[in-house]
Point group: C2
Chain length 106, copies 2
DNA sequence: TCTTTATATCGTAATATTGCAATATTACAA
DNA sequence: TTGTAATATTGCAATATTACGATATAAAGA
């Protein structure tokens, strides 16, 4: 089917899944890594650095933005993107919780 | 196209993407959450708890296992699954790195 | 105004994912 | 050996994702 039955899960489960999915592509990992180095970027900075055409880069930026992982502010002709630490924290704290609370029972 | 050009990214970027993608579905988040509570589970524990048929649950378990997030050991007719903390750590430390090193530049 | 620059959106092809019914496999018990 | 219980695999339909060329939009400069 290809359709996820989101209505049958908790908001939290859906939220974590959305955030994780946003990082579930190497290009988007690369974008986040670049932002970690550069603190900010415009789409054009990534085109040329990534093995993707401009529309594809733009599309990946939009997905990161839709998930909330990055935010963009208009600056003339450009849009300045940067990481949203608060949203990153959501995913990070979920993983921390699992990691600290888990215990292999097999 | 639907095909990701993995060859054009670093091993680390691909690795993080694979782990994140494995968590990129609410059913798989729910499985990890259940494992956090129960420490272990067999497929049958999840069927009935999740709004999915047995083959679909099995498929999600396989994806988590392929990524390395969980491991399964055979126990007679059942397979006992549990979280793999070391692999979880990989993703967790990536996020920690990003979170601690990032600074909004816009 | 016309052009250039920067980015987004549209349309589309190729491929991947999701979900399930049907079936196969495997281990164990009677 | 036959049956049963627990999972996995197969095959398929519906939908989502990925990627890019073509085009649209919007700001700024000549």
């Amino acid at each position: 089917m290809g359709i996820t039955k989101t209505a049958d899960y908790t908001d939290h489960q859906n939220r974590i899944a959305v955030l994780a999915k946003a990082l579930g592509h190497p290009a988007r990992v690369a974008i986040v890594e670049y932002l970690l180095e550069a603190d900010r970027c415009i789409c054009g900075d990534l085109v040329g650095r990534l093995p993707l055409a401009q529309p594809t880069v733009s599309q990946h930026l939009r997905e990161l933005k839709t998930a909330g992982l990055i935010q963009g502010t208009v600056e003339g002709t450009s849009i300045c993107y940067c990481i949203n630490p608060a949203v990153l924290q959501e995913l990070s704290s979920f993983l921390g919780q699992v990691r600290s609370g888990c215990q292999c029972g097999c």
